[in-house]
Amino acid sequence: MNELLEIDNLETILHTDKAPVRAVDGLSLKISKGETFALLGESGCGKSMTALSIMRLLPDVGEIVAGSIRINDRDILQLPEIGMRKIRGKQISMIFQEPMLSLNPVLTIAEQINEVLKRHFNLTPKAAQDRILELLDQVGIPDPARRMHEYSFQFSGGMKQRAMIAMALAGEPELLIADEPTTALDVTIQAQVLQLMRQIQQRNHMAILLITHDLGVVSEMAQRIAVMYAGEIVELATREDFFAHPAHPYSLQLFASLPEKQKRNQPLAVISGNVPSLTQEFIGCRFADRCQHATQRCHEIKPQWETVTPDHLVRCHLFSTDSAYDNNNQTTTATEVTETTSTLSTTSQPNAALLEVNNLQVHFPIRKGFFRQVVGQVKAVDGLSLKITAGKTLALVGESGCGKTTVGKSILQLINPTAGSVRYNKQELVGLRRKELRQMRSEFQFVFQDPYSSLNPRMRIIEILTEGMDALNVATSQQTDATATFPREKEIDALLQHVGLPVETKWRYPHEFSGGQRQRIAIARALAVNPKLLICDEPTSALDISVQAQILNLLKSLQNNLGLAFLFITHNIAVVEYLADDIAVMYLGRIVERGHIDEVISNPKHPYTQALLSAVPQIKHTIEHKVIHLEGDLPSPATPPSGCHFHPRCPHVMPVCRESYPQTSAFSATHTTHCFLYPQEHSSSDHEH
């Protein structure tokens, strides 16, 4: 097969304040026509810089210092900028991670696509309009003739990404670079977009360079896979090879870090240390410092490509011909070596509900007109009930926009509920005054989704941590003189050690920490006031797989040691399977199904739960895996559909669904759902099993 893209020994440097960062350091790869090639790696390993180097769209501080990038045997690094413009969009085009930010809000979708057409084709206005219509139709935008003249903010997230793909396809490129195309999207939407990309690739015979950190997406999409680490490719294999026998210790560790149901009672494998700083000159293997198999040789000699099978190359000394190496041995040790966490003890506690939420409603008024009359209500949370037992984890699962976060915040009374009751240890929280509530604040705390915006950038860690303690007057245990600037310094040290950070870090500012470390600080801040209940709002969604594993281990050990209860708000099913005891599935402000984790995951009843679970990209294709594709997007909570909220997207929709909201159907003492497919509680009590 002839090669479409050939990158040879690419070196890209970012000039930063301190020392130049070798973002891409000697990267070589080849992509054939019509192939999907996945570049897999954690954040900061140079994936996106590779993509931008190919497009020659590096930021101002970036510079390609060596190597060649050939597309159809033409070195594009030798082209002048004007020549490059003929390549961009025509031969290579790119879709970005954040569809909200990559479309211009003041231009209609048609105008934006037309920009590409104008640049590369000589079409009459009529022909251009037809072509835009065709493109939008191709990417599955309903009613394209009308929607092409709408603005990007009138599109939902999934639709924006479709429009973005249409724009990328407008120049009929031979290579599509997709930089984390679905990371910002929900699982059901992600399934739609991935499906669309596969269809388009087959139809247009286009090559895709897929850049992602998600092993699931890779396994669904890619034909060949390159694993990138610290600026270079460490493993290159076909999909089957890679998922059956990953070779490089780093790849193995990544697999071991994935949360899964099978790993529930053991801590996840954690790659010790951090990604090395790319400013240094590497002598030996880049992974050596974090690798459990590292030998003296790894630290001294740079590993070259070793062949495992003809299609499977790995950059590791363990595979070189002169060192005997047993593959199986490797896999077992990788899972064995874990962070030292205390053994899990299932503390059996009486099922006293720590937190009880009954019929919680949070409505936001929509105001319009001069006198700001209320013209409608956004029913973000609409009659939600749940119960958390002390020391247990309840996972609240749902797509973005279904009201998960609002639930969390309204339980903490950060948002005032419209109706309903929230009882903590049988004490009603709704309607408490600020002062009264303050007495209770130390009992429950919140861990936010984005560790970058949840820490004040202008406060040092010690100030961040002491703030809550001071505000809630948590008693100091040590006898310290009151004149010291930070009388709680000892406690802060203990806290930082608890979350696995060195104590010297307390004098630093948040921006000096990586995402995972920041999340640890956020957890430490919540723990500072000794809460009984932690509400975690997607605490790992902004983090890499290996860092996610660290945080999940931390949360789990905290639960075991301190007996914390968690309300875990997430959309990541794998994390839920690993961590949660109970699960509640939320759709448009209401819980559609709830139950014990095993009951719901192995035997989902509600069509939405079924679709949600099936849409999660699977790594292992051992069992037959059928994705239930949901049509359309989440409806607006301002105008929820009549009857069952899910009926417009439900594959099993019946006339009765449009009329009234279904009552509870119980399958066991814990497992209930709201769906007309099952006998309603008031009419019959026989369970369907």
Binding site: P20, A66, S68, M459, E467, A526
Partner: protein, 506 residues
């Protein structure tokens, strides 16, 4: 006592400001984490060059702030010293020749003759109409037509010489100091400065200083015998006027901001943070205030003040005290009318910040509103405050000019950029045109505002903990690395990258 110290209202406020700044500096010095960002300011080349220039202005301003009344020669009946009614400043004493060498009317910069023809009585009784010789400018020259140019050239050269001599003394002093501190020898320090490897950008500072000192040297040499920037309608030296205007500009720029800041900060943040009825009231207040033309409001207030001053002349000992109170009142009224813009900006920013997760986290801890405002919101809007203040600084100096133009600005007896620009209105319409007064005001204002802007830029960059800027030093290192790498192995690729990025070689 040979003088009677006078503390005017604005003097008192300036002293207060200086004390606050000194206390703040002392506090920062004691706290390592607060000191670190200020070290970064010190490392910024443009910021330090701007500060050097700014320091010159501030020195002039502060010297001009120390007011007193000199004692007169005679004593009164009781044997007590009698003090002059004229209030002078330390600066006035320093530049006495500039102050006292008053010509008849307009003369061009460095001129020896008046700018307008006048009728002169000759000793023999006849009258001719010609350009009269100046009383002071070039008075030492016997034949001004022939000697003037060479005299000016010579004095310029000597001035530059003196300036550079002073500069080299400074360089030597600095190197000795550095050598003492870093335990290196003198030459090593000198070469470190020259090769720009010192932490503090002494190279940039010294270049700025060299230019400034050469200019000052030239001015000093020329000013004793010429009017360097010419004279105005009543024959006063324009250089003196420009230097005197610096204090007024600094007072209006800083005091007005000080008066405005509490309003803008408190109301803006409160409106954004509390929303609801607090927001409504504050919004309506500033919308109403904004919709009244501020010139009218200021004119009304200043005229009222003027009437009050004239009704109670016995309250003021000297003319200077009267003029000063008027200046203070102008600052207050400018402050009250100009907080709305910053207030609106801060309200918007606070609206954004209050939804940030760290504020929510603070709420979850039950942190009080006041603490959230002071610890979380205020530090995060300071960059806006800083930029807006510096932008306002130039705006306020200009506002003073406009107000002086319509006659409600500073007291006519006070020299300010505003009164100078105001006078230039007629001078520009004159034929032949008198351009130097406006040019002088323009030049001084530009230098002042530009250096304030550059310095504020450097401060803002350094104070934001997230910003990491591409420092000058690394850019140079980068060039060296690229140049070294190019010939060895990557000839073709470095060519391609340099064609791609033409900026990195420039």
């Amino acid at each position: 006592m040979p003088f009677d110290p006078v503390i005017l209202w604005t003097d008192a406020l300036i002293y207060l400001l200086v004390i606050i700044v000194l206390c703040f500096a002392w506090y920062v010095r004691k706290n390592e984490h607060l000191l670190a960002p200020w070290r970064r300011v010190v490392h910024s080349a443009s910021g330090m060059s701007a500060l050097t220039v700014l320091l010159f202005f501030i020195t002039v301003g502060l010297l001009d702030t120390v007011h007193f009344r000199p004692a007169l020669d005679h004593k009164n009946n009781y044997g007590e010293a009698v003090y002059s009614v004229e209030v002078l400043s330390l600066f006035d004493i320093l530049v006495t020749p500039l102050r006292t060498n008053v010509e008849k009317t307009y003369s061009a910069p460095l001129a020896t003759h008046l700018y307008a023809k006048e009728t002169i009585d000759l000793p023999d009784g006849s009258r001719i109409r010609t350009f009269a010789r100046l009383e002071f400018g070039g008075a030492h020259l016997q034949h001004p037509e022939t000697d003037r140019l060479s005299d000016i050239q010579w004095r310029t050269a000597v001035g530059i010489g003196y300036g550079l001599m002073a500069w080299s003394m400074l360089v030597i002093g600095l190197c000795l100091l550095l050598a003492h501190r870093t335990k290196q020898n003198f030459l090593q320090c000198l070469s470190a400065i020259w090769r720009r490897t010192t932490e503090i950008p002494w190279y940039a500072i010294l270049i700025t200083l060299a230019i400034a000192l050469a200019l000052i040297g030239v001015t000093c040499m020329l000013a004793t015998h010429y009017h360097v920037l010419g004279t105005d309608k009543v024959g006063q030296d324009v250089l003196y006027q420009s230097l005197k205007s610096i204090r007024i500009a600094l007072v209006i720029g800083t005091l007005t901001t000080l008066i405005m800041l509490p309003f803008a900060l408190l109301l803006g943040i409160m409106a954004g943070y509390f929303r609801g009825w607090v927001d409504d009231i504050i919004q309506y207040t500033y919308t109403t205030l904004n919709s009244i033309p501020s010139v009218l409001l200021i004119a009304a207030a200043v005229l009222m003040m003027q009437v009050y001053i004239e009704m109670n002349p016995d309250l003021f000992e000297t003319i200077a005290a009267r003029a000063d109170l008027r200046l203070l009142f102008l600052c207050i009224i400018l402050g009250i009318t100009s907080w709305t813009g910053l207030c609106r900006l801060l309200r918007g920013e606070t609206l954004k910040l209050r939804e940030m997760e760290y504020i929510q986290a603070a709420h979850a801890f039950g942190v009080s509103h006041w603490r959230i405002i002071t610890r979380h919101i205020l530090p995060n809007v300071m960059h806006i405050v800083l930029i807006a203040t510096v932008m306002d600084f130039s705006g306020l100096v200009l506002a003073e000019a406009v107000l002086s133009y319509i006659g409600v600005g500073v007291d006519p007896s006070m020299i300010s950029f505003g009164t100078m620009i105001n006078a230039a209105r007629l001078e520009m319409a004159r034929e032949p045109m008198v351009w130097w007064a406006l040019m002088a005001a323009f030049g001084f204002m530009l230098t002042l505002v530009l250096s304030a802007n550059l310095f504020a830029d450097a401060v803002q960059n350094a104070l934001d903990p997230r910003v990491s800027t591409l420092s000058q030093k690394n850019k140079i290192l980068r060039h060296r690395v690229a140049k070294k790498a190019a010939p060895s192995n990557k000839t073709d690729t470095s060519e391609s990258s340099s064609t791609k990025k033409p900026t990195h070689d420039s």
